[in-house]
């Protein structure tokens, strides 16, 4: 029976992300990004690592181009034509612009992701370095929790977006098939004639969830890297609080491995543990700086774009005539607004967590049993605490720091812009 289940799992594992059917016992770092990479591969947007001359490379390239045409260029052209036809009325243009901007911005994020291929691959490799490997059972528990958090954020955010988009897809049903889920127009054919309308509707049913999922992946992949950094910081805090226990365990392990030569005192093992803490701290600092260099530009542009899109949604909200007769429109607007707010919130929340957890390291160093150490060994803790006075922070384009303060500032600016545009509309 067990063999059968094992065989079924092996057969099914390519069609699910890594970690859904496999066990997490080895805590392979690729568990953090398995869901993200799975969806990117599903839409052909992951890095094409096949050698240039092989058939697989070209097949992959064709699939990528096909998907891009279906989800990016074809709807994009339709939206641009729709907006251009209405360019005399600035108000109408502003209303249709928010959807166009947020969809196109998803593909801009994909482009930046491709341009930063080396950095992202090096980030993934960094996760496999030896300082980050869990050595104690408590470490394993911490890493398991952080993996769960990273995967949960991705799946829940993507599900929420797809759910939101399905409301948009159901919209034409309530409007008697008068409109398409997204307003598009094409120069060569009429979109409201019957067979074309049906094909376009089906196309929209494919492309809208696809855009949502890709957008979700792009946003949450940064969150997953930050979650792994936070997991390592928690391990470091645990080590600092319990370094005497860990030194004792190390000594016992050395005795049982017959490596204990007798001249190594307890002090030697304590120093080893503290030195490993410093090395881990240095690795985490380097890791966070690589994350920043890979995602800084995309996050900065994301923030600026979100401000614009938020105020455009606000304008659109106010311009629906007869709110009671178009309840689905109101619901769609409200859900879209919530999704946009949550998108920026995820980035800022994880950045904020990073700052708080690295501030916590100072407290962890103080909580440890340093009273029993001699002065020379205390120097490790003193210098460590000096370094921790400046917390690790992620910045977006050196202007914004990813934190909840920035989130407040952004929402503030979005509201100011919305108020000005509302007055101008009048």
């Amino acid at each position: 029976m067990k063999m059968l289940i094992q065989k079924v799992k092996e057969k099914l594992s390519p069609i699910f992300p890594y970690g859904v059917l496999e066990s997490w016992d080895d805590l392979d770092p690729k568990l953090y990004h398995a869901v993200h990479i799975f969806w990117l591969k599903f839409y052909g947007l992951w890095y094409n690592n096949y050698p240039k001359k092989s058939i697989k490379f070209w097949l992959n390239m064709m699939y990528t181009l096909l998907v891009l045409w279906l989800v990016c260029f074809f709807p994009g052209i339709g939206e641009v034509v729709y907006l251009l036809k209405r360019r005399d009325n600035i108000g109408d243009v502003a209303e249709g612009l928010y959807l166009f901007l947020s969809e196109m911005y998803t593909y801009f994020k994909v482009l930046v992701f491709w341009l930063n291929k080396d950095k992202v691959i090096s980030l993934q490799k960094f996760l496999h370095c030896k300082e980050f490997k869990p050595k104690e059972p408590e470490h394993k528990e911490i890493i398991r929790k952080s993996i769960r958090k990273a995967r949960f954020v991705m799946t829940s955010y993507a599900t929420m977006c797809v759910g939101a988009v399905s409301v948009g897809i159901i919209l034409p049903l309530t409007e008697n098939f008068d409109i398409l889920p997204t307003n598009v127009e094409y120069p060569f054919f009429d979109v409201y004639k019957n067979p074309t309308y049906a094909y376009l509707y089906l196309h929209h049913i494919y492309y809208k969830p696809a855009t949502c999922i890709i957008d979700g992946v792009m946003d949450t992949i940064l969150a997953a890297f930050v979650a792994s950094a936070i997991g390592q910081i928690e391990i470091l805090a645990f080590n600092l609080r319990n370094f005497d226990v860990l030194a004792e365990r190390r000594r016992k392990r050395a005795i049982s491995d017959n490596k204990y030569i007798g001249k190594y005192t307890n002090l030697y093992f304590t120093k080893r543990i503290l030195k490993e803490c410093i090395l881990l701290h240095n690795s985490i600092i380097r890791y966070v700086s690589v994350i920043e260099s890979a995602f800084s530009l995309a996050s900065a542009l994301q923030f600026m774009l979100s401000v614009m899109v938020l105020c455009l949604i606000g304008i659109q909200f106010l311009s629906i005539e007869n709110p009671t007769s178009h309840p689905m429109q109101m619901v769609w607007m409200a859900i879209y607004l919530t999704c946009m707010l949550i998108e920026v919130f995820i980035l800022c929340w994880f950045g904020n967590e990073l700052i708080w957890k690295s501030n916590d390291l100072r407290q962890a160093a103080f909580d440890g049993p340093w009273r029993n150490l001699n002065r020379k060994t205390c120097m490790f803790i003193i210098i460590f605490m000096e370094r921790c006075k400046r917390p690790m922070r992620l910045s977006a384009g050196k202007i914004f720091t990813l934190s909840l303060d920035t989130y407040t500032v952004l929402i503030n600016w979005a509201y100011k812009a919305f108020a000005v545009m509302r007055n101008m509309k009048k």
Binding site: I278, I285, M379, I382, I383, R387, K398
Partner: protein, 472 residues
Amino acid sequence: MMTKVKTQGLVTDLMPCIRLLQAAGHFLFNYHADTSGMNMLLRKIYSSAHAVLIVVHYICMGINMAQYKDEVNELTANTITVLFFAHSIIKLAFFAFNSKSFYRTLAVWNQSNSHPLFTESDARYHQISLSKMRRLLYFICGMTVFSVISWVTLTFFGESVRMIASKETNETLTEPAPRLPLKAWYPFKTMSGGGYVFAFIYQIYFLLFSMALANLLDVIFCSWLIFACEQLQHLKAIMKPLMELSAALDTYRPNTAELFRVSSTDKTEKVPDAVDMDIRGIYSTQQDFGMTLRGAGGKLQNFNAENNPNGLTAKQEMLARSAIKYWVERHKHVVRLVASIGDTYGTALLFHMLVSTITLTLLAYQATKINGINVYAFSTIGYLVYTLGQVFHFCIFGNRLIEESSSVMEAAYSCQWYDGSEEAKTFVQIVCQQCQKAMTISGAKFFNVSLDLFASVLGAVVTYFMVLIQLK
């Protein structure tokens, strides 16, 4: 005709900029080889002549502003122009009154300490700072010339009129004005003929020299900051070898001979000829390292090789022990330089920001009246970009100084201090504590020069624009 003047330190590095400042008419009378009375008198007359010409034209512009103050648009435009050139007058006067403190800052780096093991790194970062300073100078000179050319070119487009408010009907009429780059009052007729040509040439001279006066002084300030940042980079770069040297004193390390090899050839850098390499012994001045072989200080007396696990000679041990002292003294020297820069230029920055704030407010108002792509739009946007560019210029270098000085702490932490000696660990602790607070340049203690300042200025302009466009 002029013999080469012997200069050292910062003056050598900044000589092109200093010569340009003297040519533009600042009251900078030092750093000449020939200081005979006749030549000094000639130079003073040259600077005074420039100052008089520029101030006279500025007063003419002021008279023009007072003459046509009835019509709001005309008044705003003239006020913006007058404020724009106020920078040059303020900087000219500021330099004249403060030249002593400029000379003092330029002389801060005349005597610097050196260590045989770190001269190569010192020379490399010095070269980097020299090339950056040159590039900045060329860029700013280019931008100044470009601005003058585009200003003069723009004069020939559009209609050359001025607005008058008619007192009876209360509407604005236009009256023809001379087609000149700037609106100013002249005691002679400038509509056409000889007066027009003279006024045109005078205005081109005024534009070029006043912009050069203001921009070159900013270039000196930014060059000082570049120098300070490269010194900090040098200090960060030698942190790792310093730790290894210090570790070599206490614990057995393989390959300690490598640490003491002073590399004399480096393919990537040119050794500057101005560096005076005094290799009379182990260090440049015995006083610099505070110790003599006669045994001053208890712990330095035993130089026998048996105490040292790596078998270092007495000379090598001396080098290792003096490395930390070199680092600390160099860092203190950089702090003195930055403090001197702040004292010298802080007030000028304060005045610059005050005038720029008022200018930008008025420019935001002018920008709300842009109604198409015409001469008015180009000139307003040109003024905006230039003013914001001036503020951005010194904000970005101030920000770099803050970043460099606070990243020294991170460099100290990331080198392998845990393998070093107790002395090295204490050193790292004190460095970390000292570098918690970054070195900043403040505008007479009112604000800190950083990108936050620029962002707040930009945010203020956008806010004024949004509010004013509502009131329209």
